[in-house]
Amino acid sequence: MKIQITGGRVIDPANQLDAHQDLYISAGKIVALGSSPAGFVADQVIDASGQIVCPGLIDLQAHLREPGDTRKGTIASESAAAVAGGVTTLCCPPSTLPVLDSTAVARLIQDKADQVGLARVLPLGALTRGLEGGQLSNMVALQEAGCVALANARHPIASTQTLMRCMEYAATFDVLLMLHAKDADLTAGGCAHDGITCTRLGLPGIPETAETLDVARCLLLAEQTGVRLHLCQLSAQRSVQLVRDAQQRGVAVTADVAIPYLFLCDEDLDGFSSDYHLDPPLRDRCDMAGLREGLASGVITAICSDHQPQDAAAKEAPFASTEPGMIGLETLLPLTLRLVEDNVLTLDEAIRKLTAGPAAVLGLDLGHLSVGVSADICIFDPQAQWSLTQATTRSKGLNSPFMDAALTGQVTCSLLKGRVVYTR
Amino acid sequence: MPESIDVHAQLSVMAERLQRYLQTRNINDPVLVGIRTGGVWLAEKLHKQLGVESALGILDISFYRDDFTRVGMNPKVMPSNLPFTTEDRHVVLIDDVIMSGRTIRAALNELFDYGRPASVTLVALLDLEAHELPIRADVVGMTLTLAPGQQIKLCGPDPLHLTLEQRKP
């Protein structure tokens, strides 16, 4: 299928490109930018005038909930939400049921995703068996079965010795580790950031050290073992500082931040709305500022959605009894563009955090619009004013405080491997 | 004109009428109970004029009103004070203005929570002839009809006088 995307402003941060150019696609790959290749006759012409054409977004953390929790979401529904949000590649965490610690589950997910045929799903394998923090998983087998990295998916690894062995083993085979820094003891029983809001609401608190202690532990062990480490969804300013210091020392560590933490803080918990119950918790204004600064300075190279669809019952209870998480695939782009409005990032930098940045973390040849690569493309209208509503969302989950909010910037078309998978 | 009514003069007339009323019924040892606030002022005067021996009782009917959920709680409620047993006594209940009759009903309900009186005689300074319940005073100073939207109030305690208010539409 030959496709020509015409009239758009092509922004490709990896290639430092920002120009009005046409894009030519054939047999699932980008064959040219700018002038049409000789003899190119388009089967389909997509008019992108007034819009931005960029690489398909890469989301380092989106929960599809299948297998196991299909009440909350399925590969089909959440992939549909992904491509509606311009996300053509996403990593799904191993916290499925059964846990993604076997090649069978890894293949099952990829097969299902292929069947659905919307977004590219990259499974993250479990670092330990059953995510229990005890035994190493079959890391090499999982990698060969398609897992792009191994993760602990918010399950704390209590034994430091086990963590160290995991890193040493992973380092042997150059396996990437994507870890959530979380100290089991300090997190236990808590559901909100331990600060003034938590005191007023009487919620059990989680101190900042629940994250920073484990960040420090992971960094020092990574330094010792030489493993490639990526820290997921940081929530504290102090964590950013620790990562920056380690990066400056030459440790091979990257980090991402989930989009809600850039706009919300613990003050938003006022009123006990379970929409704001997240893991890690939303911390205070200084932490929010610190995360924004970490993005701007380049310590944090990727923004992810951390999409977690929930069924109504999981969110309709007193705060501490609700499950954490919010949906985010369809609001990822407009919220990232808000960072440009807020002068945290330039437009080029913002798109980089959603494309080349996450691609580099994973070490994959994605997230750019060079000739010869897979034609994964996101076309969006940066001026479009819209809202995500219960009726229009494609995700099974409705749990987001941004539901019905005024958003600017909307995806009009997404392509995966040269095939249109979403049109507005 | 209501404001020109000489309340003290009326009281003397009412005291006489009440005495005759009680005599006809052979009531020799009544207890007087005034309904806060206006009724209490009147009851004090009557108590003196009649030379009643038993102490004066005071009823606050705020908690017995039938419309409290509509007009809200009155926070400034003073407790009722009946320094005698009402069981088998002849009670003289005194209020300033009778309009719908609901205040009297509330007062009767409260009175009966304290015990079972032998009889209740109702005395009022004014009857506005706007009954919503079948309650009539046994001894009345005067009857009066007000124009729509008008309200009358007894002010006191010294001197006791009536004022007329126009309720805002």
Partner: protein, 334 residues
């Protein structure tokens, strides 16, 4: 961003009257004063021979206790009965919730019973607020304690005690001693004291029992009991749960008592006319010396009676507010 109503506004009608009583936080001085004045009249009434008034006659009050508490539940029951209400006691902690029924489902089943008021105690902070948002709008919710968040009727009965025995709040130094971290009573007291304009609010406890950010609430933090008690007019002792020792908050009861226990000696550091209060039940020899608990400065027993009066006040005010709200809505529909 869609946001649920914050509890301080949820409990008021459009006209600013009480329709639920969920928390003392954010309540105006006028509202709290109204509760105190109303409670005053009920205190006077409770000492008379006729203790019952028909304010809630024909209304059904349901005690929904997800957390056991015979004491608190009995005072609410007594308060409701003195208002002539019909009372139903549901100890949910022992039935449906154990069977895994969600709170929302429990509420929907209860709604069928057409009650007018729920008095709720629950182990989760924000539970009373959640219930207020998920029942039909004409049901009044009285928070009898939700997690660590609030116990507003206890807070107000403590305020009533202070009001009746000490008068003007602005001249008072009030100290709250003990496990502030886990205490919903302390939180409700602090918010009420602030709203009523208390001169100085102090908390006295070791760091392990202090929550973050109290200074931002206008509270002075003391680690030393002697310093903290100096010249105070009101001493409120909090109950120390015995499990604080086993979960690594404190080394032992004896050390706690030696450092933070209110003894006669220590009480002398306070103002000679200082009053001693405790939400109960007291742990003699743990947070308070027997002689102090039973002594002339102690108002601990009086607090119980005030508790009934405050609960009668709050229940009648909330029922009144709800009924007026429903009437106002009916008007607008017409």
């Amino acid at each position: 961003m869609t946001k649920l109503t914050d509890p301080t506004q949820l409990q008021l009608t459009a006209g600013g009257e009480l329709r639920h009583f969920l928390t003392t936080e954010g309540a105006s001085r006028e509202l709290l004063r109204e509760i105190l004045t109303t409670a005053d009249s009920f205190v006077d009434m409770n000492s008379q021979s006729v203790k019952k008034v028909p304010l809630l006659r024909g209304k059904t009050v349901v005690n929904l206790f997800f957390e056991n508490s015979t004491r608190t539940r009995s005072t609410f029951e007594l308060a409701a009965k003195r208002l002539s209400a019909d009372v139903l006691n549901l100890d949910i902690g022992t039935s449906s919730a154990k069977k895994g029924e969600t709170l929302k489902d429990t509420l929907q089943n209860l709604q069928a019973m057409a009650s007018d008021m729920f008095v709720v105690r629950h182990h989760d902070s924000g539970a009373a607020h959640f219930i207020a948002q998920h029942v039909t709008p004409d049901v009044a919710i009285i928070n009898a304690g939700d997690g660590r968040h609030a116990h507003p009727t206890q807070g107000m009965l403590d305020m009533l005690t202070i009001h009746r025995h000490k008068g003007d709040f602005s001249a008072l130094k009030v100290a709250i001693v003990g496990d502030i971290l886990h205490s919903r009573v302390a939180r409700s007291e602090i918010h009420a004291l602030r709203a009523l304009g208390a001169g100085e609010i102090r908390v006295i406890a070791p760091k392990t029992l202090l929550p973050r950010g109290l200074e931002a609430l206008g509270v002075k933090v003391y680690f030393d009991l002697a310093q903290g008690l100096k010249d105070v007019d009101v001493v409120i002792m909090l109950r120390l749960q015995l499990e604080r020792m086993s979960s690594a908050f404190l080394p032992s009861q004896s050390e706690f008592y030696s450092l933070y226990g209110l003894t006669r000696e220590r009480l002398k550091l306070a103002h000679p006319d200082a009053i001693v209060m405790h939400p109960g039940p007291i742990n003699r020899g743990v947070e308070i010396e027997s002689e102090v608990a039973d002594g002339c400065q102690s108002l601990i027993l009086k607090q119980v009676g005030y508790g009934i009066a405050v609960r009668m006040a709050v229940m009648s005010m909330a029922m009144s507010g709800q009924t007026r709200q429903a009437a106002a809505l009916a008007e607008t529909v017409r």
